[in-house]
């Protein structure tokens, strides 16, 4: 008996060893390019780093984090980013769901619509932003359409009141289709028999949607909302191109990641930029945890 368990134990160790051996290349690559930078970032966030010329590190304790408190641009960037997340994530999720439901219905030319809807996602965001900047031009398409319907027109690129809205519209339009495809795939998985049974019990179309489709899509929705939140919190390229890297007009398009970029590469204040990065990571983690509570302990499987 003891001999057998001994044998099993040894075999287990051996199996584990060979398992790790197989994983070594991946572990090394991930370690060097993922774990090490993360640890390094955490360490450097407590230092004052000078990179240009004489490289030097000076331990400054919590100074970088204290600086965040009084930095009004951080507050503005946080506010902008929060506002952006709060508006973009619900709209793009609902839009994705709506599009997916429409495409799941038996309509003619379904695949054509699928391709057409998906196109914005495969286009590079830099190109999209440039195209949208033409649309948003004071004499551009959007203002012409608005004035045709006698609606007020805006200086989309120059007016701080609306500049962020412009990026929101652009991003919703560009990312909703990606999530639509995920919803669509999930919708195909809903067993037909459930709907049949519901129909026999006399359920209406709405009833079926609320009681079968939506609950079935819950794990996917969780995934989509998490991905949406992470993606929107990390908004960078659109506002970078929009404002030529400044976050203007009047900080209206300044996001956290853009601010981090400015501190890291314009001011070369690496320590402070890394402290901000940690704060951003903390914010995203908190939001995700809150959301997990909201959606319950359900898992994706």
């Amino acid at each position: 008996m003891t001999l057998k368990s001994e044998f099993l134990k040894r075999r287990n160790i051996q199996e584990a060893l060979s398992g790790y051996l197989f994983m070594t290349p991946t572990l090394i690559v991930l370690g060097i390019f993922l774990v090490l930078p993360v640890l390094y970032a955490i360490v450097l966030a407590f230092h004052s780093v000078n990179l240009l010329g004489e490289v030097s590190y000076r331990f400054t304790g919590l100074k970088n984090f204290m600086r965040i408190q009084g930095d009004e641009r951080v507050a503005i960037a946080l506010k902008n980013t929060m506002q952006y997340v709060a508006i973009v994530v619900p709209i793009q999720t609902l839009l994705a769901l709506g599009l997916a439901l429409a495409l799941n219905a038996k309509i003619k030319g379904r695949s054509l619509f699928r391709v057409a809807f998906f196109l914005p996602t495969v286009t590079s965001s830099a190109v999209l932003t440039l195209i949208f900047m033409w649309i948003y031009n004071s004499n551009g398409l959007l203002n012409n359409v608005l004035s045709f319907f006698s609606l007020p027109t805006y200086n989309w690129l120059g007016d701080p009141e609306v500049a962020l809205r412009g990026i929101m519209i652009m991003n919703i339009w560009a990312t909703a289709p990606l999530f639509m495809v995920i919803y669509l795939a999930a919708l195909q998985d809903v067993p037909e028999s459930l709907y049949e049974a519901a129909s026999i019990d006399g359920a209406t179309g709405w009833g079926k949607f609320w009681c079968i489709t939506l609950p079935f899509l819950r794990p996917v929705t969780f995934f989509i909302v998490v991905m949406g939140i992470i993606g929107t919190f990390q908004l960078f390229d659109q506002s970078y191109i929009f404002s030529n890297g400044s976050g203007g007009p009047n900080n209206a398009t300044l996001t956290i990641v853009l601010l981090i970029y400015q501190y890291a590469f314009k001011n070369l204040d690496m320590g402070y930029a890394l402290a901000l990065t940690l704060v951003l990571a903390l914010v995203i983690m908190t939001v995700t945890i809150i959301q997990r509570q909201f959606f319950g302990e359900e898992r994706l499987d």
């Binding site: 000078n50 990179l51 240009l52 010329g53 004489e54 100074k63 600086r67 009084g70 930095d71 009004e72 641009r73 031009n137 004071s138 004499n139 551009g140 200086n155 690129l157 120059g158 007016d159 701080p160 890297g245 400044s246 203007g248 007009p249 009047n250 900080n251 400015q262 590469f265 314009k266 001011n267 070369l268 204040d269 402070y272």
Partner: protein, 431 residues
């Protein structure tokens, strides 16, 4: 030897095989050594990085470099154009020790790089025959720190008032404005709303709400951008006074416009399209306007006086050498060639900027060209766009708040106070 014959043969064969490979290896080694020694005479390559304003400029520079390579056959110049976020790229490369040997540097970024010691001081390379005294002294000062010269100005430009002569004729204006009061008046007369939709179709003047363009407005009434410790100090009544004129024109008179108000990317584009009748621009706009808007009729005058004094901005760019460069002598030869009297002459004919050597400017008669004369005259009283190493921080903060005052979100006085406080807090923390 009771080994079977075949075994010894194999062993012999193996030995043979090993020795053959050894021979081959040795041969390779010798050959490569020889290659290396031959390489000593092969051309060395140095990199020159900069931005490019237009294809013509690029062609001119290429031909000057070609002349250089003919004169110095053992030096090859690799050109590299960085057009987007130039300074971010250069700084990152300097940190990573992969920076170019020679690169462009704008005066306003110079203090920081000079202080951090990544630039090679050029004093030791300069010979009397190079004639350093020929350069405009104020431009040289921009690249000096503690008695050391870190860059040779390649060219410069001031700002001057561009005005649309057709629009002036239509408004029955004979002369360009001489004072800012006249300019304000002219701008009113030049603002027209042909389709009467309440939004002017042509504004009197364009405005670039950025610190590089507005610094002389701050100084016009005795204001100062920064104090002697490089902290921002522009929230004084004197500094605000000049800027207030612009805000009034924008908000009260509604006779000036930003480029984005009229759907343009820049003031020169808006000016070329006829959406603004006046613009305060630099020499670079002249070739652009001539090429892109050949039908446009325009003239140039000095910037109108403010508070009875003349004032304008000057922008200059220098060639600097990377301290980590492996071929410093070759790098200096390139700088020397590009900024020599002949090199500068062939380069400055493009008209994007004015030559920084006085003798070249005189030889090319820029002071007698009707378009360039106001720009050349401006050099005598211009403020060079440069301050301490805190300038980028001060600028970001100023730009953000100035535009909000311009758009009427807050009074200019409060905006400037806020901008100054934000900038100074950031400067304090980063020290």
């Amino acid at each position: 030897m009771d080994l079977p014959l075949w075994r010894s043969q194999v062993r012999f064969g193996m030995k043979n095989w090993v020795s053959r490979w050894t021979c081959f290896g040795l041969f390779l080694l010798l050959f490569s050594c020889q290659l290396k020694s031959r390489n000593a005479n092969a051309p060395i390559e140095i990199t020159l990085s900069g931005w490019q304003s237009n294809p013509n400029e690029s062609k001119l520079l290429a031909s000057v470099i070609n002349d250089f390579e003919i004169k110095h056959p053992n030096i090859k110049v690799k050109r590299e154009v960085i057009n987007s976020q130039y300074m971010d790229v250069i700084k990152t490369r300097l940190i990573g020790d992969v920076a170019p040997d020679v690169f462009y540097l704008e005066a306003f970024e110079a203090p920081m790089l000079m202080k951090s010691g990544v630039l090679e001081p050029l004093n030791a390379y300069i010979t009397p025959s190079y004639d350093l005294a020929d350069f405009e002294p104020s431009l040289l000062t921009a690249f000096q720190q503690n008695g050391k010269l870190y860059g040779v100005p390649k060219d410069f430009s001031t700002l001057a008032l561009f005005y649309n002569t057709t629009a002036f004729q239509n408004a029955k204006l004979a002369q360009p404005p001489k004072t800012w009061a006249e300019l304000t008046q002219h701008a009113k007369q030049l603002t027209v709303d042909t389709n009467r939709d309440g939004k002017p179709d042509r504004y009197g003047m364009g405005i670039a709400p950025e610190l590089p363009r507005q610094l002389f407005m701050i100084q016009a009434f005795g204001g100062r951008l920064t104090d002697h410790n490089n902290y921002a100090s522009f929230a004084t009544p004197n500094a605000v006074k000049g800027l207030q004129l612009l805000v009034d024109q924008y908000r009260r008179d509604r006779t000036v416009a930003q480029p984005s108000d009229v759907g343009a990317n820049s003031n020169s584009e808006a000016f070329g399209q006829g959406k603004i009748a006046m613009a305060i621009e630099g020499a670079w706009a002249i070739p652009y306007l001539k090429e892109t808007f050949p039908d446009l009729k325009f003239a140039i005058a000095e910037v109108p006086t403010l508070n009875g004094k003349k004032g304008t901005m000057a922008f200059t760019v220098a060639y600097v050498m990377n301290r980590q460069s492996k071929h410093k002598d070759a790098a200096w030869k390139l700088i020397e060639f590009l900024t020599s009297k002949d090199g500068m002459k062939s380069w400055a004919t493009e008209g994007l900027a004015l030559p920084s050597r006085q003798s070249v400017a005189a030889a090319l008669k820029y002071d007698r060209d009707p378009l360039y004369a106001p720009l050349a005259t401006g050099a005598t009283y211009a403020t060079i766009w440069q301050s301490g190493e805190t300038l980028p921080t001060v600028m970001t903060s100023f730009d953000n708040q100035f535009i909000s005052a311009l758009l009427g979100q807050q009074p200019l006085k409060d905006a400037m106070k806020k901008a100054q406080d934000t900038a100074n807090r950031e400067i304090y923390w980063s020290n």
